[in-house]
Amino acid sequence: MSARMRLATRMVGLAALVSTAFTVWLAFWVTPPAKVMGTLVRLLYLHPPVAWVALYCAFGLAALSSLLYLWRRTRTLFWDRLGASAVEVGVVFTALTLITGSLWGRPTWGVWWTWTARLTSTALLLVLFLGYLALRRVPADPEVRARRCAVAALVAFVDVPIVMFSVDWWQTLHQQGTVLNPGLDLKVHGSMAWTMLLGFVAMTLVFVWMVLVRYRVEVLADRIGDEELEVSLSERWAEGSAVTLDPGAPSRGAPGRGAPGLPATLVGVGRRAEDLAEHASPVPEHASLVAEHAAPVPEHASPVAEPLPGHATEPLGGRR
């Protein structure tokens, strides 16, 4: 996460704040109340944008990143973190969708909840992705967790159209795809349309900002994990060099060394020891631990990668 990235996050945050404030101003002070619904109509500037972010932006992004993670060529932890961030923010927005919808439904329909297709499938979606978050909380190795979560997300996504389809058939009371019951006779026009549009922009910006921040948290959490790993690796090194197994022998030997007295069949093994001597570099190659699937000989030298006592091998051939 570079400084430029942080600046971008801040800019997006600022834009989100400004556009949200502007939407609030337009919604409460500029736009008129509606004929039938009165001032309740102002939920129009919040509920549909929130639902749009939850159902399309968040879960679309999560599906895309899970797919890209599972595809071998684009498999990096970037997609895993992005997907997780998107789901987490998406769950918040889905919950908000249900809450604002419910607040709207109570005065207009007279009930907090109806078993309409739209509500039911949104609620199911929320539960599906709560399951994803529960799975993500299970402690595991980052790669393992990433793979597991990507599969879970994808399996859940495959379900979404089936859920929508079946729930639509199941209860088609609400089949008009519009936001409101047609009987309420609401026409969105003029300043209302502009405010609603701004609401969409504002909520999308809020979403992007939250994902960026959340992504950064993921990166930092992983970095802590990596630093812990470096510490435990160096402890392991210390543990290894503290134990001297045989005082007479060199502290660390190259395997594959043909010891005297071994049968002639092992000459080949002895020859390999010379190859090994060429390979043996003073700096051990463990620094790439952090960079997954990095080049075999990474350049970046970590604290661990200093030549440690006992590892700085003597020439492997001249053992005796």
Partner: protein
């Protein structure tokens, strides 16, 4: 893949026949659920008769969770999980084999449950073929989704609580479509009932395909 699937399914079924967990625990549980529904919905037969398809499918859903948990428990030993990964069996074969074994158990449970709602809830089936086809498609879909999530949560310490949370929302379409199809089968409304098969069929196909594609990476996470 098919040979491996047959091998794994044969092994799972044989283990099931030996241990009789399905017979002595899963089956009584399913019947118990029906009886409890009877208590909850009161002694009047008309309410029970209306609710029967839904209750049947709920019982099947709960059974699916138990059966997949059991199917994964077979492999839960440290040694056996490695064994399956080391054996060189195609992961898709493992998936299909496990699905087949779970599906077989679900069929057995459904036979008993079907008899149960006929006896306990006084239900008459008007269109047998519709009920059978719906059950068959639903069974394949339920087993596939169940095994997929079972593998996902296998090896986790929290798997008993996590699996129902993951599986039950996923199989909600099966509950909806299955109950509607059965309602139609009971009342003889073939045309409306048959349209629900258009959900059960694709559900089964989609989850079989997803499982075949993703079981490999999933096995490595255990």
């Amino acid at each position: 893949m098919w040979r491996d699937a047959l091998l794994v399914a044969g092994k799972d079924v044989r283990i099931e026949l030996r241990s009789r967990v399905a017979l002595w625990q899963v089956l009584p549980f399913a019947v118990l659920v029906l009886v409890l529904f009877g208590f909850a919905l009161g002694p009047g037969p008309s309410a029970l008769r209306v609710a029967a398809p839904g209750l049947y499918w709920l019982a099947v859903l709960f059974t699916t969770v138990l059966a997949t948990q059991r199917s994964m428990a077979i492999e839960s030993g440290e040694g056996t999980r490695d064994g399956l990964r080391l054996s060189g069996i195609d992961p898709a074969g493992v998936f299909l084999g496990k699905v087949a074994a779970v599906a077989l158990q679900l069929v057995a449970v459904q036979v008993v449950l079907g008899a149960g709602i006929v006896v306990l809830f006084d239900v008459h089936v008007a269109t047998w073929w519709l009920a059978l086809v719906a059950s068959l498609l639903a069974t394949v879909g339920l087993s596939a989704a169940g095994v997929l999530y079972g593998a996902l949560s296998a090896g986790l310490r929290v798997r008993e609580t996590l699996l129902p949370l993951l599986v039950l929302p996923i199989v909600a379409p099966v509950l909806i479509a299955g109950s509607r199809a059965w309602s139609a089968a009971l009342s003889g409304a073939v045309a409306s009932g048959a349209s629900w098969l258009k959900i059960l069929g694709p559900f089964a196909a989609v989850y079989l395909a997803v499982g075949v594609a993703l079981y490999g990476p999933l096995q490595e996470t255990a």
